[in-house]
Symmetry: C2
Subunit: 299 residues, 2 copies
């Protein structure tokens, strides 16, 4: 079965029948609890609540799933972050999720050189999967949260993460577009576009596994065969990109917010590169979006 909707993704996880262990940092807010409950309903996770006392006893739905829930006490949100990160580092949890804690504080625990969970040399960056109403498949695009302006090395890591995510979902040869505001390399104004050639060459040498990479392309010529034809261009992606590697965090943010604000597209975001996936929703995310992010992380 090819995975073209979030429902397919959840079905895949249900069919696989493995419960991932999700460590939730101070999961006291409603959206986090509702998202966790949805993941428990689907039977795709076991939960370790770290900090946030008495979550289970106060929440009827949680009480129902008590055999799939553990509780680890913590003194405060920062302590909860340290303890949850330790669980991930020690292999006792398979993924980490932010509840009510400042993003910077959680990231500090993740990035701590001694007690954190980012292997040296790894690139921590965000991927977002989106299901756009009226569009025929899921798309994955890069970082609207962590890296302001990716270096070439970070961009290479982003390509790797996106290709890997598609491989996990059974897409044999994902199509990856390196995005820019035009189809021309512009070394003067946009130096990073010069690096696109090297990434394409790496892909052709097989360094990312089976995939097709092309760029620069804009969002239109990346995902629309018609836009490509209208511009009289050709691309090995044929206007059918599965993955969009975005220039920087501002482009990521505007894509993310435009899809969510104007089209109410379903979205899931996960940080890649740490010892386990990290679900780091933003305050604006719905409970459903947080649940979908858990599903993406559980992949």
């Amino acid at each position: 079965m090819s995975i073209t909707t979030f429902n397919h993704l959840v079905e895949l996880l249900v069919r696989r029948g493995q419960r991932r262990r999700l460590a939730v940092v101070n999961g006291i807010d409603d959206h986090t609890q509702r998202a966790v409950e949805m993941a428990l309903d689907e039977g795709i996770v076991n939960i370790i609540f770290v900090g946030g006392k008495k979550i289970i006893s106060r929440n009827q739905a949680m009480a129902h799933y008590h055999s799939h829930i553990e509780y680890v006490p913590a003194d405060n949100p920062d302590d909860a972050a340290r303890r949850a990160v330790a669980l991930c580092r020690e292999g006792k949890a398979d993924m980490l999720m932010k509840g009510r804690i400042n993003t910077d504080n959680l990231l500090r625990a993740v990035l701590n050189k001694e007690t954190g969970m980012l292997p040296k040399g790894n690139v921590l960056t965000q991927i977002t999967m989106t299901e756009v109403p009226g569009f025929d498949r899921l798309l994955i695009f890069t970082d609207s949260a962590v890296i302001p302006f990716p270096t070439q090395e970070q961009r290479v890591a982003q390509v790797r993460y996106v290709v890997n995510a598609w491989h996990f979902m059974g897409v044999e040869e994902p199509r990856i577009a390196l995005i820019h505001c035009s189809e021309k390399v512009d070394e003067r104004h946009f130096p990073y576009t010069a690096g696109y050639k090297d990434i394409i060459a790496m892909a052709q040498r097989g360094e990312f596994g089976k995939c097709i990479v092309d760029g620069p392309l804009d969002i239109g010529t990346a995902v629309s065969p018609q836009a490509l034809a209208t511009k009289g261009l050709s691309s090995p992606l044929e206007g059918r990109a599965d993955g969009l590697i975005l220039p920087n965090i501002e482009v990521g943010n505007v894509l993310h917010k435009t899809l969510s604000t104007f089209i109410h597209a379903r979205m899931a975001s996960v940080l890649q590169g740490a010892m386990t996936p990290v679900v780091l929703p933003s305050r604006g995310d719905s409970a459903e979006s947080k649940f979908l992010s858990i599903a993406l992380a559980a992949l």
Copy 2:
């Protein structure tokens, strides 16, 4: 009547009953001719075709409007650009439109220091108006075509053009959002966000006429009261921005292409700052989009 759709905008022009004189540079392509025909159908323009021999005689619809069409011969597209720009400079045309000619070549004619049409010190930049299905009003956003990274001075000019466009359309106190990927000034990674404070102060001093300016805001908190509330933020715009001043051309392009590719939003784009508005469609634009751009320029 408040103008919340492109149809309202066209009605406004029809009611005003003034025909703007549109100089079309080498308008031999189908989309340009179809767009011109739509503008003639509405009775909002007179046309001066500059270059592109025998357009009228070959096109039945055009023949019908012969009393509203002039023809100025030219040796080639570049010559047509020079002649059309001269008409604008001499007050014989009210707006300029690109037909089949390379964008750079047309801009060269516009920008020529002696024979061009950009007054010294003026900022040439693009505004785009969009009608997003399901959204309750039109939005105007800045440059996805001309200025890669606006300076503070250029950004101030962009605010002025956007405010003016709304005033022309009868919006007394337009709300203008200065866009960034977050609501925090970040002088280190995004130096331009530090300049937002000064633009807000200028607006408060009345330097743009009546308007409300706020930022940094992201696309969500700019146009969605709900997104603003969910983030627990307050803004004098109250999540009801009419204008979006975008950080740079890449953000502009991704917004433009996301709205057109995924939502099929109606779009109109015009260059501001020259002696007359310049309609500079991109190859991918539909005939309808080119017509709407003529309407926006005719405002």
